[in-house]
Amino acid sequence: MSDVVERTLSALPGLLGQHDPGAGPGGGPGRFSATSRLGSLIRSITALSSKHEEEKLIQQEQTNLKATVSAPTTTLRLMKECMVRLIYCEMLGYESSFGYIHAIKLAQQGNLLEKRVGYLAVSLFLHENHELLLLLVNTVVKDLQSTNLVEVCMALTVVSQIFPREMIPAVLPLIEDKLQHSKEIIRRKAVQALYKFYLIAPNQVQHIHDKFRKALCDRDVGVMAASLHIYLQMIKKNASGYKDLTESFVTILKQVVGGKLPIDFNYHSVPAPWLQIQLLRILGLLGKDDPRTSELMYDVLDESLRRAEINHNITYAILFECVQTIYTICPKSDLLEKAAKCIGKFVLSPKINLKYLGLKALTYVIQQDPNLALQHQMTIIECLDHPDPIIKRETLELLYRITNGQNVTVIVQKMLDYLRQSKEEYTIINLTGKIAELTMNAVFSVGGDVMHPDIPNNFLRLLAEGFDDEKEDEQLRLYAVQSYLSLLEEEDTFYPQKFLQVMSWVLGEYSYLTNDGDPEIIITRLHRLLKQTFVTSETKAWIMTAITKMSSRMSCSKTVDKLIQEFSTSLDTCMRQYAFELKHLCENKELMKKLLPLDASCDEIMVDASLSFLDGFVAEGLRCGAAPYKPHHQRQEEKLSQEKGDMSSSGFTGRQSPAGLSLGSDMSGNSAEIGQKETNCLKLDGVRKLWGKEGYLPKKENKTGKEDKTQPVPPDSILMGHVVDPPLMQSEQQVVSLSEEEKEKKQLASTLFVGLGSNSSISLMGRADTINQKLKKKSKISETQNSEEASSFQNIATLPFSPLPDTAPNNKENFQGNEHLGLRKVSLSSSEVLEASVSFDTSQSLREAGLDEKLSNCRLSTSSLFADSNIEVFQPPKTVPDIVARKAPLSLCLPEELAGHPHSEIVELCSCDILTVYSCKVWTDDCSLLVLFVANNSTSPLKTVNLVFETTEHFKIFESLSCHFPVIEAQSMESCQKCVQLEKVCTEGILSGSISYHLDMDTHLEFSLIFSLSDFIRPMKITTEDFGRLWLSFSNDVKQNIKMSPSQGSLSIALNALKQKLKLHIVEIIGNEGIAACQLLPSIPCLLHCRTHARTLALWFRSSCSALPDSLLYQCQKMMEES
């Protein structure tokens, strides 16, 4: 049908000129009165070419109309026609207020259709508060009491469109009566009118809430549906008051979904879709944060998802609402899974409108489940480059929601890119500027102090250097200034130091951009901050600088004077210094202006970093017997060593120095220097990768700059400095096997989605923080090491970059074996890497998986390269326990009977000074074994070591959940093995447990490790005939089309990839069709039929277990997206 309409409407402009539709006013009921006056008006206007001509014509028309409507002889019929023409004039933008009163008259006097047009004109002409509206009330009251139902209908319609609030009491009783009317249309319209009253004066309808309930239970669907509007509003305001209605809504939705409504409520054979959507919305509001209410609706939501299977837009509208509801109410895992799958359908759809909805849904659900973003990361990245700016923007909105400290720069960069491209769209610039800035605020105040110091720096750099367009820059800066100012308006609000620093810098630099902000006020606010106790002295320095900058732009300021006075006597020497500086500068305004020019933050300033101009002064001082300068940490360390007494003289503590420390002047001890150099190089490496390909930081210059400053170093440390690079190259080489473009996308993906997944970014940072604290504690131990040990220690530190040996290195001398352990330990200290390496291990040990290994290798490298917290990982003190371990060599190898089976790397699970737990997964044919090694690092035997697993719903551990070691001798190791079975099908689950031991006191260590579905999948070797038989016997199936990237090529490549990842047995491949089989341990078979068509891979799973096909499909999808 739509075709017909389309064709018709396309013919419209052409037809206008050619045809005279003929029928005169007398012909028929006058519905096609193209020759009427309205008709001729429309036609003459359509024929006009200029706005000016149109104005003239309308003016003339209005003069005519004015005369006609006010003439006493004008019939109501003519008046009706005049009204339509007036409506037309107003529609074109020409006010025709002279006709308003006549519209009211027509509604009053007219007969049915005339009356209806009168009402229509009133509702179009007048607004809610128009005084003429009062004149309508009498007519409405009269019509509401009419015996003619048509008139009652009209009155009710107009009431629900427009009605003066103060006159509600005049009609309310009449309308309440109508709720009992025998005709559904009257009841329905009465409810609509009450809805209007509820909107404009909720208090006036409070007493009829029970009547709303009656309407909800009305035997007619229309009346019930009308009441839903009221309920939606009321529940929005106060959900808790309507929980008791949940079951009613659920029942109604069940009936609608089940097709119990009369057939004419169907739209394209979908039963009352808009009603379904409304109900879903209400359920979402009711179920939010309420597990008991949510419980009631799981069934019906599941049914809604299932029923909406017809491939029509309207079903997608329902599905979208359903997904939103499922993610709003208290989560239920299988529903979430289904909803997630649904979103996948949207996102992967070739239809652009569905893609948009998919992105919107993702944006909504991503706050609950960031993993979904990971699942669709490739699609998201494609959408980021979508030709449709709307899609792009929706994608940015999505990214905005997943912004964390680690990916913020990339996301902000993407937003800025978008901003640059869309110059002509003013509002978009506005919005994106806001988003970019909000992002920074969000990250600063949440991520706060634990975030990487380069993030704020980078933001300030972006802000200062700006983009091509000066105007845009100013706007962004102005936003920043305004927002920070209003944040500072609140007294006593705590903000992270970093955020305060950013604020003060921005205010200092750009506060001149605001016209309304008196600098005095800004300075007062900053001054107030200075007096806060939570502000650190570093931040105070930032604030002082900002105040100095600002005061350079004003002639004099009371606050500044006060401030100088206040801090000139401060106990804080830095503050005193600043106060004096400021004082002197204030006395010499000219110098101040020169020193602090406006908006010159990007100008290069030459600084003599060597401070050579002071050489004379220093020489003079030394000659006079002053002690040579020692840097802070050296002094500190000397002090410590004096305390300890037995310390070596080497400046070993250099290793603990914060990486940001300036290397400029001192290099006292060799090892200190080595340590510092190492951390610096590593740091830069991490940074370079973190900021992506263009690199925000001038990394090369920076690096060489720092190296230049260092003095010549011993050969072994030079070696170390260079060892850093090759592994990176190596990983890059491995990536080359992917296409260049894919690689780029992958890189982008890992930068964008870093920090998502099972750990939220914040907790990740928090963890990095605790690691730091641990490091600080442990560094004390490092001081007790002698320098000889230190050098071997350094050797270990270089090892994280050497290629990973496949098996536990017991073929080499123990010393190296321990280095290997060190490496494991190091690479595990970030939770991000933990995941990566676990999955790496899983796949690696499949011996047939050559390609696979490569892939996972790059995964490991990308994720570790892009993860923020990773940087902390390489801080040397972490390896200290290994030094201890080295003294008592432990050999880590699997028992002989297991070594032949495919297994994972042996990884460290948890560790403390006393003991370390390593784990290894062994995949035998009939079970998944978890081998745990407990190593005693201490020099005394450990007694009663107990290892206990927590019970989980997903996994079953055989024999018992615990493992008991009566005694573990000093420097030795015990092992135990457990058979793990997947109890409840899931794609991934965490098995956690703890180990406790007694040494002086009871100590307790926790650990967790991840098992994925693929750990429990084994190939099932069957023939094609068996396959056929089994296929028919299974009832649970899942089908899905997956887009293949060009690199995935043919079916056999795709299948082989699946085979390696999921341990499938490929039964047969014929042409573009293939079948494969696997089993979930102990013996649940699952069959796969796949077929390639164009660029899609159609997967069809069947199994006897209902959850298995879904989960396997998910794994396949994930895998295909990854490869």
């Binding site: 018709t8 402009p13 919005l431």
Partner: protein, 182 residues
């Protein structure tokens, strides 16, 4: 926290105002042709007359700038436009953040189907009419501004979708027509 400061931003950027309960799900319903001439407009929130024409010009400009491959939803100021093109005619609906775009997209089509049913049924009665039925529809919309409005009023009221059942939408109008005839 940043919502607090966003109140300083221009109103169009302010998300908070959108979530006010009284904000209408559907803000306006427009029919505009490719030449930018408005064929029908219904506002569910009060907008000054001169602002309406400006808004309509912007809206149609936005719609015309988009190709068939691009999606039918446009983010415009603080609301969204959902549009559907029937040859030279655009039907554009302005909605707020919380409304379901696809549901509105289909609402537009339902509306067109209702118009088609109404005007084609009338033409069956009026056999003397010289032009073939489909063409009636296009004229009908133009020359029966009042009736199209009456139909729309049955479907959307107060910015809410109140009726989608075609029989029920048309019933009152059929009664009016019958009475006018007699």
């Amino acid at each position: 926290m940043w919502q607090k400061y966003s109140s300083r931003l221009p109103a169009s950027c302010n998300k908070q105002t959108i979530s006010e309960p009284n904000r209408k799900m559907i803000k306006f319903f427009l029919m505009v042709n490719k030449q930018g001439q408005t064929r029908l407009s219904r506002y569910y929130e009060h907008v000054e007359i001169h602002k309406r024409t400006m808004l309509e010009a912007e809206v149609i400009k936005n719609c015309l700038s988009r190709s068939r491959e691009q999606c039918s939803f446009i983010e415009y100021k603080d609301f969204k436009l959902v549009y559907r093109q029937y040859a030279a005619l655009f039907i554009v609906v302005g909605i707020n953040e919380t409304e379901n775009e696809m549901a509105v997209y289909e609402l537009i089509h339902n509306f067109v189907e209702v118009l088609d049913r109404y005007f084609s049924r009338v033409s069956e009665l009026d056999v003397s009419f010289p032009v073939s039925p489909p063409i009636h529809l296009s004229f009908s919309i133009m020359f029966n501004l009042d009736r199209v409005h009456i139909i729309l009023d049955e479907m959307v009221l107060n910015g809410c979708i109140v009726e989608t059942n075609k029989n029920r939408i048309l019933a009152p109008l059929f009664v009016l027509d019958k009475m006018a005839e007699s």
